[in-house]
Symmetry: C2
């Protein structure tokens, strides 16, 4: 019988998101993909370390993609794989990897499931251009696929399609120990607990402790979030936070 | 009488946003600041060119900030200027600029407008640490200020506070010719218009033409957004898009 490896010995799997699109930078479209992918990755034990948003310009995409793919286990891109002239992601990814790009019969077959052959015009055929050596990512919503090349997953920008693609990609990813978290609602202002909280953070170096102020029904309040890969260390730090909050509440009542 | 300078001769003012915070990368908090700042800048004639999201780690903040501030007219940061141990933005910004950081009497005076002196504990005093040479950005919501150093504006992460700070910062910024835009709702699928739209984009190089698919009440639809600093060129390209859409609609009806 083999024991489950301790969370401390499981590898840390990291990721970055590259959002591609002028419409996000102009503010015309409000991004919904970053938060969705971030939560998805956290839930399967992948640590999102960086996000970048760049315009529809080849040089910008190539340079951001090369910086991110050399640094993290996985990169997820969103946007720029549609049928119009401003959809340049596939070409930019091919350029970043230094591989050719061409019409891909597998992608054409996928589009033929939705469009009769006489509707596969030049614009729609643009969506079948795939960098050499890439695997396709199925699109159950509108058929035009994303693709995976190296450690980079290229997905659509439309949230419903991106989410369908992420459901395809998710089960293929290596995952690390899931980061566990506990939230303590303090019922106090952040400034009331900041000093003792810093001491707890110092005493529990294997936990990351975040403090997030918000307005509750009764006034200013703070959520303290304790995170760790190790359930025992998480429990110890959380107990310390709860005891501190109780003590501060009682102190401030007097 | 001096003629208004042509938009083509007004300088292009660029910007980047640096979002600082583990809570955004974990997906626990969904960012609302990127879209808000993007729209704000577009409306006053500043072109947002890049966004990065980094964790609460000094090295990551310093390296992203130095990359962005050397490249764009302005950088706007959000997050990490509160009273707790995980609020390290001010120190990281000081490190990026290579200047010392210390308690700032102007910031202390601002906090004293809200807190009696005996409540200015170590945690709250943390919010008065300001890099040497920085100007403060007033915070009408909760008093603890942001600051401006060089071309970098350091703002809070809580949206209501960030927005109040941006209202203070906005009127101090250099602005360029505002990018004007026209939206044409095609009533057609993106793939139906992609080919002729690419020709229009090529014929109107001073306009940027984006195509954004969505689902309307009657099925798949596309918004075509034409953008330019020059109102005449914008009008010409928009007219070409409208004529093309009419022609394609009529063609597809037959």
């Amino acid at each position: 019988m083999t024991a489950e490896p301790s969370p401390a010995f499981q590898p840390v799997i990291t990721a970055a998101i590259l959002v591609i699109g002028d419409e996000i930078l102009s503010g015309r479209t409000k991004d919904k993909n970053i938060g969705y992918i971030a939560e998805y990755l956290t839930n399967i034990g992948i640590e999102l370390r960086e996000v970048r948003v760049v315009p529809d310009l080849t040089d910008e995409i190539v340079s951001a993609l090369n910086a991110l793919r050399s640094r993290y286990t996985y990169v997820f891109t969103t946007g720029g794989i549609g049928p119009t002239h401003d959809d340049i992601t596939a070409d930019a990814v091919a350029a970043a990897f230094g591989v050719p790009i061409d019409y891909d019969q597998r992608a054409i077959d996928m589009l033929l499931e939705r469009f009769p052959k006489d509707q596969l015009n030049e614009a729609r055929m643009r969506m079948t251009r795939i960098p050499a050596g890439a695997d396709l990512i199925a699109n159950s919503v509108s058929k035009a696929p994303g693709f995976k090349i190296g450690n980079v997953h290229v997905m659509a920008g439309v949230p419903a399609i991106m989410q369908a693609m992420l459901d395809v990609v998710g089960p293929t990813l290596k995952t690390g120990a899931k980061i566990l978290s506990e939230t303590v609602q303090a019922g106090l202002r952040e400034g009331d607990i900041g000093t003792p909280l810093a001491e707890i953070a110092k005493a529990h170096p294997d936990c990351s402790i975040g403090s997030y102020p918000f307005w509750s029904e009764t006034g200013p309040d703070t959520n303290i979030v304790v995170r760790s890969r190790d359930p025992e260390k998480l429990a110890l730090a959380t107990a310390a936070v709860k005891a501190m909050v109780e003590a501060e509440r009682s102190r401030l009542r007097h």
